[in-house]
Amino acid sequence: MTALTMPARPKHDAGLRPVPWWRMAWVTWRQHRAALAGVAVFLGAFAVYLWLTGLQMHHAEAAYCHPAGSLGCAINFTGRYGETAILVSIALQAVPALIGAFIGAPVLARELETGTFRYAWTQGIGRLRWTVGKLVPLAVAVTAAAGAFTVLFAWYNQPWAAAGYVTPFSARVFDLLGVAFAAWTLAAFAIGVLAGMLIRRAVPAIAATLAAYAGLAFATGLWLREHYITPLVTHSTNLPGSAWIIGHWYTKGGRLVSQSAISQELRGYHHAPATQVGPNTFQAVLDPVRYLTQHGYTNWTSYQPASRFWPFQWIEGGWLLALSVLLIAATVWLVRRRAT
């Protein structure tokens, strides 16, 4: 049989050495360099813009905002740059979602959609190495890019923090600072690749990624984040402005008072006469909190102190990292067992 005259081929013994990992590096780079360049250009342009406006903001804050509450500060700093800063932080919230949707989702969806997976998964390297060799470098690249961007944003955010306009826990900056931004970007990428693997078509996978990411980010900001560490509780009414107020309630005689009972009580307060608070000053309406305190109610506030910023960052970064590892592992598992 002619098979015996085949050119030299290695013996197919059990100890067949697999195709080395690093060979995937070129493959991944070649196939995704356009997308990665797109991310680099997009983030780069954004970075230049942040740097230019950031410089102006730094100068304005330094020149007009000492003291912070002055009229000059309100006109020349917050008035002039406040809107920009809010728009920038909103736009940045979308960056992880866009990376997940446009880098993560197509990685596998496009292979499945165009049928090229039948080429890719029958090469000698094998599906496992192919998948891991693609997903891990891409995940590291987008996470590193986001991490670098965080450094710039923290600098951009400095004047606002210094002037007391944003606190570390402000919903619009918390996940852009520290490790959260990189972690959210990684999570978005992981959501994207899994969606691509499950949906198998690029455009629906992109849409699903955006929806899933938005749902997760909103749920985290609205409900989850405040529970990372049990809030502190105080009956002091004098909390630092940087604290993140979680809840507010009253007790009377050691028992919780319902909101309707408080409303009932405050009817009397609305009819209360003006009180003399100083030698020549009358306060027409008493502070409702003080009014309630005078009537035997205790005011309680639960809050997260600003000193918990980093623990919160590590908790958020930690669970997002765990989630991302889980999602990517699930994707690899699906690729391995997927049968056409």
Binding site: M1, T2, A3, L4, T5, M6, P7, R9, P10, H12, A14, L16, R17, P18, V19, R23, M24, W26, V27, R30, Q31, T114, G115, T116, R118, Y119, A120, W121, T122, Q123, G124, I125, G126, R127, W130, R337, A339, T340
Partner: protein, 305 residues
């Protein structure tokens, strides 16, 4: 080298409630250009996907290259697969497709690939998506052959090609089989080319193997008997595969060798591969014994009813 490049026993694959392939038992010996023939939906693609490890069996088992599990490192290493519609990355130039394939495999004969593309007039810097259908197919085939596989699996490789491209493609396949001893398994529902190309035939019908064997053996064990239509009925006891009745004459495809006696008033003719295949495709109920020429340990290689 008595090895089966693909061996299946009781192999089945179910998608939802439909069995795309069912109780498939066959052995394709090495050193052949084996054609997998059958109507659309017969299970050809399913069988090939199972053999290259893109699909997992729902029932039974399949091994490749003499007992390797499909999709195992050694199996992936030894088998090159060109899927239906010859998928290549449309946005990559041909040169990058070569480099890609080289990086994804332990072996890659870069010189062979470049020479081959030059011979075919496929420019290395042109994006794969900009090549003609025939050139894309040739590119995919070149990538597969440059891996120096022991087995080349082609799923409907020529279905989308014009006759010239089809001829050129098959010429490349045959050259690889003849010069390098690559075993080839290809699926096709284009019958016209088979006789020139294939020396082993597997006929799949409704997810089952209807006939399998070396082409020479299959042809030698079948005859066409031509005689008066009125007498055709008397062959009911013979192993008749298919009857084609004309007004005066009937043509009976029977299982018989050249030495078997021919009834008086009847003429016996050898049968062509296309005619034989068509006859079996028209009679999905008929099963055939394989030809006599088989390797020693190529059992089992057929399903008979």
């Amino acid at each position: 080298m008595n090895m089966n490049v693909i061996e299946a026993s009781g192999l089945g694959k179910r998608y939802g409630r439909t069995w795309a392939l069912c109780e498939c038992t066959l052995a394709i010996p090495a050193g052949h250009v084996a054609a997998l023939v059958g109507p659309n939906g017969a299970g050809k693609t399913t069988l090939l996907n199972l053999a290259v490890g893109l699909a997992e069996p729902s029932a039974g088992a399949v091994t490749v290259l003499g007992g390797l599990p499909p999709g195992s490192p050694a199996a992936l290493d030894g088998i090159a697969f060109v899927a239906q519609d010859t998928p290549v990355y449309k946005n990559l130039p041909a040169a990058d497709m070569l480099h890609l394939t080289r990086n994804l495999n332990r072996r890659f004969d870069q010189r062979y690939a470049r020479d081959r593309l030059a011979e075919l007039g496929i420019p290395l810097n042109r994006k794969a998506g900009k090549l003609s259908g025939g050139q894309q197919a040739q590119l995919a085939l070149t990538l597969a052959l440059a891996r120096r596989p022991r087995l080349l699996v082609l799923d409907e490789p020529v279905a989308m090609l014009d006759p010239v491209a089809r001829h050129d493609f098959m010429a490349t396949v045959l050259a690889a089989a003849a010069d390098d001893g690559v075993s080839v398994v290809l699926s096709s529902h284009v019958l016209a080319e088979l006789e020139r190309v294939a020396d082993y035939l597997i006929l799949l019908s409704r997810g089952r193997v209807q006939m399998a064997g070396e082409v020479d053996g299959l042809l030698a064990s079948h005859r066409v008997l031509t005689g008066p239509t009125a007498e055709a009925g008397q062959y009911a006891d013979r192993p008749v595969v298919h009857v084609r009745r004309g007004a005066a004459q009937a043509h009976l495809l029977v299982r018989a060798t050249a030495d078997d006696p021919v009834p008086s008033g009847w003429e016996a003719h050898p049968v062509g591969l296309e005619e034989l295949t068509l006859a079996y495709l028209r009679e999905p109920g008929a099963g055939a014994l394989p030809g006599p020429a088989r390797g020693r340990d190529t059992q089992p290689s057929e399903v008979t009813r």
